[in-house]
Subunit: 137 residues, 6 copies
């Protein structure tokens, strides 16, 4: 068993806001992230999959294929978008890095399985200092 | 003459759009950056000032003071904000990194001069790969 | 279960020296790190906690709270200090990154538990190339 | 139990090519990596070992010793070399990062054991975005 | 006048060898870089151009255009290639980072001029620690 | 004319303190940097030299020689040392990054000249965010 990781990047806007709460509560809970007109980040996404090494290629799966899966199903969908308004799979969900990471897992795990590999981890960094890891359960 | 640089970071949303043009032209000129609902970045700001070394302190100016100037007059104003909608000094200006850098210069140069130092450069990175430098003229 | 990581930094002096040994032995064991007048590092601390996502906030715990816990209980205590002389909780312990990481765990784990999260890992980098990971057991 | 990681770097050439296949198949499977005259990378190797902290030194094992082991047995052998042509332990193996990582494990695990530590992970980054992790089984 | 920088990356093999000299002299002058079967690097290329800000776009030139110019004329030509054997414009030249940077300038300066901008600097990093800057004269 | 840069690193302790002033004034001027028992940093030193490209080697000067000059005359002297107590050339000088950079210039400029190159810049980063540049005048 060996693990391969691919990093990709996207730039998106979001805000954190819960309609159940009034503005003061949202401000208290979400701080600067509740700014009405949004803010944004350069997100760094790291996808780790695992499997056995194929003796002919020396690959678990081709990193070029992993890159294409991530770009087609995630980056092309979320890059230069608003995570509150523009993304179908985030509808009705708070766009925290935690929730985004979980949704990415649901999208990517079956695609990776098509190539005979097993999804291991989604890591999503909102800034260099704030990072989420999700292992699918 | 010696140069000192301080890096600070802020997260903001923006979009590039010119009302003189129709949607198709905006899309052609600004590409993904024209997305109606905004996108965003982790901006890295690097401010360089220069001056003579004070023999008592060994400083051109105290980097703590430079940090405070940048935080008070820039970071606290633009962090977790929308550069099209929330920032007075960007009103009526296209919020490209080029224009933002020039406005930052106008704000910071006189503050730095109050400490006897000379503004040398504003560098603003929108992503790791896209970076603007402005020397004030 | 999801994991969130926060990175913080501090600058400190230390030296490695064991009074049980003579100077030559200390030099042989600890090399340059045994310099009598200390040396120092920019330490990078990465704290990982885990828990369930709260449906109202989309957070395991608020990263702002995690940041404050780390700054109040660690950074404000050790930053710009001497790890051999100035830090109560390091008294009588060799200030290797290994021992520092273990002490940080003891301090932070109960604080994080107060917010309903579980301490998962303390990572402490002394330089870009020398890094310690501790999982609490 | 505590984990210590050391990063080292080497620069090497390689190409991916399987003699069982014709040129078109190699090109389809390995893409740009199949270029006949080789290409190359700055590889970043990260070696993690684990063990108990020695009470006299505060170390699992001396990071200086770990550095020397990696340099003597890996870096001095592969740095500024061609991984297809110059390296005995890669003979007959596809020089993918996956296979290289597995060979490094076989070489380093017994050396680390001589110092009373246990090999935990070999991480090998071919670029900032393409990274392999191997845990020895 | 404002400056914009774009970073791009490529992976290539090379060796340093001068046919005027015997093997011992090449080894003495070029050290490990003279390895007969090549070695390689992840090169980081940073291209800086300058000009006036266009009032309609807020751009000196569109960074998307600058990216495309660099990719079309440089990256697509040199990525995953051997700089001694595969690149027409390096024929008969020692493939040091110095010489590569000068050749890149000759190729890119007229392309950038077509967009009304002025070439300012080519920076080429062979490793994180070894970096070349060329200003065209 | 072409510029070559080499980065090297060292770890050192220091404190900022002026005997002309009482403790309260030192604390007000130098803040946390005045801690009596020192603190420390991982300093990143970047040395830039310039010259013409030698047609036989393709080098301004061999980066291996530049590395050796920096290591012999700077790194071996200051690494894992106390900049207030252990370094002859800092005696009687406030060990700010500004003053350290100027002293490094005086030491390195004649050594580089011996290889036919011209010293251009000393850059010294105390942390990722606090950086000094000195051009020799």
């Amino acid at each position: 068993m060996i693990y391969i990781k691919r990093k990709e990047h996207f730039c998106a806007a979001h805000k954190l806001w819960n309609d159940k709460w009034d503005a003061a509560t949202n401000k208290r809970i979400f701080g600067k992230c509740s700014n009405e007109n949004y803010h944004g980040h350069n997100f760094e996404l790291e996808v780790t999959v695992c499997g056995e090494i194929d003796p002919d290629t020396g690959f678990v799966m081709n990193l070029f294929d992993l890159k294409q899966i991530i770009r087609t199903h995630i980056i092309d969908v979320v890059d230069h978008k608003n995570l509150n308004l523009d993304i179908d799979f985030m509808e009705g969900k708070q766009p925290t890095a935690e929730n985004i990471a979980c949704e990415f897992w649901k999208i990517l795990a079956p695609k990776v399985a098509d190539y005979g590999a097993l999804m291991h981890k989604i890591q999503l960094a909102e800034t260099n200092n704030n990072i989420i890891e999700y292992f699918g359960e």
